[in-house]
């Protein structure tokens, strides 16, 4: 009996050790970006495609040129209130003192300069699919923006989500480099898939989440409760969105729907970002949205 108990303790310790190991914050190796030179001009396109300004710009300033990414916007979720941090080049309060690799690691792996897990309110689960060259270009662009000395605010996350190590488990489950749309037979669809699934992180709002806050990949882009509060984010699969590709392009370029309503809520900011992309990128997004598996409108919860 004593012997069995001893074995159980050993197994439990091994399991805990394995769990501890598996949930450790994992940084990217130097080789990820070795030899890549950042192009800040292209980095601005990446910045707009990735929608960084929507969350990191200071609250209540919808548009500023150049963007002031001092953070401070709050996101109320079931897990607590997340506050977007300062990502300006300020060396003390922003990320000016971080190396390129540290910034790319934060974006693609959700690990900060101190080797600590970041919360997945930051959509690194989708940025994990980004091209390292794009990330290096993005970093080069971020370094051209004005520094701001506003301190980042602490995250107001409740127990047990306040245990950062648990984020490692979330990453094991949901940080995926696999495409949702596995078949992208044309370069245009491949580009659209990259823009939607990797940079644009459209699924963060348009795909429902499970109880752990991970995306329900079988309900990809099928609509979800509005993370900002009231209302629902629409189903944009061909099962519900009947717009033509040209309609989608017009919407993402101007904010106008086919009957000339105009984008509201967070989507207004998304349109502001996407509309600045090269036209062929917007067309590629539209083509992708016509190619994702249709999910019937009835399969989602009724309008709230």
């Amino acid at each position: 009996m004593g012997r069995l108990l001893r074995w159980l303790v050993v197994i439990a310790l091994l399991a805990a050790g394995a769990g501890w190991f598996l949930t450790r914050p994992q940084t990217l190796p130097e080789s990820t970006i070795a030899g890549l030179a950042g192009d800040p001009v292209h980095g601005r396109d990446v910045f707009n495609a990735a929608g960084c300004a929507s969350c990191h710009s200071v609250p209540d300033v919808a548009v500023s040129d150049p963007p002031i990414l001092a953070g401070g916007q709050e996101f109320n979720t079931d897990f607590g209130t997340f506050v977007a941090p300062n990502i300006t080049p300020d060396p003390e309060h922003g990320i000016g003192a971080w190396t390129d690799l540290q910034i790319v690691t934060a974006i693609m792996r959700g690990v900060d300069d101190r080797g600590q897990h970041l919360y997945p309110a930051f959509p690194y689960g989708t940025y994990a699919k980004a091209a390292p060259q794009d990330m290096v270009d993005l970093v080069a662009y971020l370094r051209t923006l004005p520094p701001d000395a506003t301190p980042s605010q602490p995250q107001a996350v409740s127990f047990p989500f306040s245990i950062r190590r648990a984020v490692g488990g979330w990453k094991l489950l949901f940080l995926s480099e696999n495409w949702v749309l596995q078949d992208a037979p044309t370069p245009q669809l491949e580009r659209g898939r990259y823009l939607v699934e990797a940079l644009g992180h459209c699924g963060e709002c348009h795909t429902p989440r499970n109880i752990l806050g991970g995306p329900e990949r079988s309900q990809w882009l099928a609509g979800a409760p509005n993370p900002d509060g009231e209302g629902r984010i629409p189903n944009i699969t061909p099962g519900a969105l009947t717009w033509s590709e040209a309609d989608i392009v017009t919407y993402l370029s101007t904010g106008f729907t086919p009957d000339f309503d105009s984008a509201g809520g967070s989507m207004a900011g998304v349109v502001r970002n996407i509309s600045q992309l090269p036209p062929e990128d917007i067309t590629a997004i539209a083509a992708y949205l016509k190619a994702v598996p249709p999910i019937a409108a009835a399969a989602t919860a009724p309008a709230g």
Binding site: N226, T254, G264
Partner: protein
């Protein structure tokens, strides 16, 4: 009771009375307010549609039709909107309402957004009949004021 305190009491009573009347909009009245504003928004969309289709080359530029659409837009955005935005008619409180509570809690900014819309419609009204380039130049401000208000004050529809 002194004359002053009598006046104060009377004013207070009147204010309370007004508040009660104000708060007593029936459900039918709230629903009707939502319908009024939806009808107005649809009219705006119809006028903007005429202008945007010309701007995008989807329909040929026609100075007379453009002027008429711009004039209609200006008229639609300039009507007295007091009956549209009855307090208590936000999302969840009246049929088909997509108005965020911030319409009433940020009333001053909401009104500023309305004023920006009128300014953009006035500029469009001056430009639409001139030529296509002038119309195209005036359109982004119109679209921007639609989106600028919807961003903060309209919740997602489905």
């Amino acid at each position: 009771m002194s004359r002053v305190s009598k006046i104060i009491s009377l004013s207070l009573a009147a204010a309370i009375g007004a508040t009660v009347v104000y708060a007593q909009a029936t459900q039918d009245e709230l629903n009707a307010a939502v319908e009024l504003r939806h009808a107005n928004m649809k009219e705006r969309g119809a006028s903007v549609g005429v202008l945007a289709k010309m701007a995008q080359g989807e329909t040929p530029y026609d100075a007379a039709a453009a002027s008429a659409a711009a004039a209609a837009l200006l008229a639609t955005v300039s009507v007295d909107q007091t009956p549209f935005w009855l307090p208590g008619s936000e999302n969840g409180m009246a049929n088909d309402s997509f108005a965020a509570p911030a319409v009433w809690t940020n009333a001053a900014d909401f009104e500023a957004k309305g004023a920006a819309m009128i300014a953009a419609a006035e500029a469009m009204n001056a430009a639409a009949g001139v030529d296509l380039a002038a119309l195209q130049a005036a359109l982004p401000a119109v679209g921007g004021s639609c989106g600028g208000c919807h961003e903060l004050y309209k919740i997602p529809e489905n």
